[in-house]
Amino acid sequence: MAVSGLIMLGYLVAHVAGNLKVFFGPEEFNAYGHWLRVMGAPVLHHEWALWLVRIVLVAAVVAHAVSAYQLSRRDLKARPTAYVHRRRRASYATRTMRWGGIVLALFIVWHVLDLTTGTVHPGGFEEGRPYQNVVDTFSTWYGNVVYIVAMLAVGLHVRHGFWSAAQTLGVGNARRERLLRALANTLALVLTAGFVSVPVAVMTGVVS
């Protein structure tokens, strides 16, 4: 869980940094999109680097989902009889890891169909013109709602996930506790704010 999660987290940081290029106008954003396809050239052929990243990501998603399934099954089996007196104490982020993860998996499917393949894209999807595609998606109400909800889920998932990954890998101790918590909160906040800024910019007309 920890290793696959950190791979995806590393990707998210790169992803949000790339997304923010949208604020520098269509030329720069589209040029960035083009660069992703010629990354590593001339050593690598067209889109090889991109496909390499995609393969690693799919492997990470599958590994993450399989271990989450195994862990959940084990956890449910270990507490066959629930307590009659129920009370909630763990933080919201901690309690929503499982369902939050499922929400994120569904979001990723929609997100790829929307902005990578263009299958469910509203308006004319054009390969190689990501700026216009982003504006189209965030010009629909449901595009905004789905995206913003998913990004809030990302923030919550990262908040508990990053800190937990550090514990799993044995990095945590009493002295680093505050640092790790702060790092997890900062990562969650930066990712959510960075991603959400794009639909907000389209809605307010900053990006059009």
């Binding site: 956890d75 507490r79 307590y83 104490r89 763990a90 514990q167 890998l169 044995g170 101790n173």
Partner: protein, 249 residues
């Protein structure tokens, strides 16, 4: 004070259990929770009913025998053992739910008594040191740095009551196992079996059917001895280290 109790009653491990309601009167705020249950049992015996079975031994908070989930909290609302919980934590007329530890690795024996033999087997897998027996060795023969001694003492406080497992939404025994491993692994006396200890005890913990850890932190919150949550990370570190060493041969 007068209290309404809802207590888990179960004839034996194979029988179906249910919550039963009792009323107890004349409870003093200075009584411990177990003395309150003694009062209930005296009433039940006088009425010719079966008394409520619950585990207890030293009643001083050091043996780890008492094990009740009170209003959904392992050992109740105070951060202590059930025997050291006093009735002043409750108010006259309160309804109190009393349940046994819930985990598939801790099967119910009767009423509020569960079988915690799984913990004994985890200890047997490596929670000891191999040392020559005989008279006590000279105290200064093996120097121990202060920080290591403090860490060992902190983890040695674990009384093996099982509140961590009871509080964990996953029924995981990571906090207990980590306390036992860290206690010995930081000391020079424990270092000869440092790797086999963590590998064997974690393997036994898994084999007993405890759940996996999702770092909810409920265990450390419930622990009457204050075993800290980072102990789990320390155990993971030991485990990864031992695996690396084992793979190198």
């Amino acid at each position: 004070m007068r209290l309404n109790l809802r207590v888990w009653r179960q004839k034996n491990g194979a029988a179906e259990g249910a919550m039963a309601t009792y009323e107890v009167d004349g409870i003093s705020a200075d009584m411990s929770f177990l003395e309150m249950l003694d009062t209930l049992n005296e009433d039940l015996i006088l009425r010719g009913e079966d008394p409520v079975a619950f585990d207890h031994d030293c009643r001083e908070g050091i043996c780890g025998a008492c094990s009740l989930v009170i209003n959904g909290d392992a050992h109740g609302p105070e951060r202590t053992t059930t025997c050291q919980l006093h009735m002043r934590s409750f108010r006259d007329g309160d309804t109190i739910d009393v349940e046994p530890w819930r985990a598939s690795a801790f099967p119910v024996v009767k009423d509020l008594v569960v079988d915690r033999g799984a913990f004994d087997r985890v200890i047997q897998a490596g929670g000891y040191i191999t040392a020559p027996t005989g008279s006590a060795p000279e105290a200064h023969a093996t120097p121990v740095p202060k920080a290591d001694a403090d860490s060992a003492f902190e983890h040695a406080e674990c009384i093996g009551c099982g509140a961590c497992v009871a509080a964990c939404p996953n029924g995981s025994a990571m906090l207990f196992t980590s306390a036992k491993i860290n206690h010995l692994n930081v000391l020079p006396q424990g270092s000869p079996e440092r790797e086999t200890r963590v590998l064997d005890m974690v393997a036994q913990m898994d084999a007993e059917g405890f759940g996996g850890c999702t770092l909810t932190g409920e265990c450390a919150t419930a622990c009457p001895k204050g075993i800290p949550l980072p102990s789990i990370s320390a155990m993971n570190r030991e485990w990864l280290r031992a695996r690396r060493k084992a793979s190198r041969g």
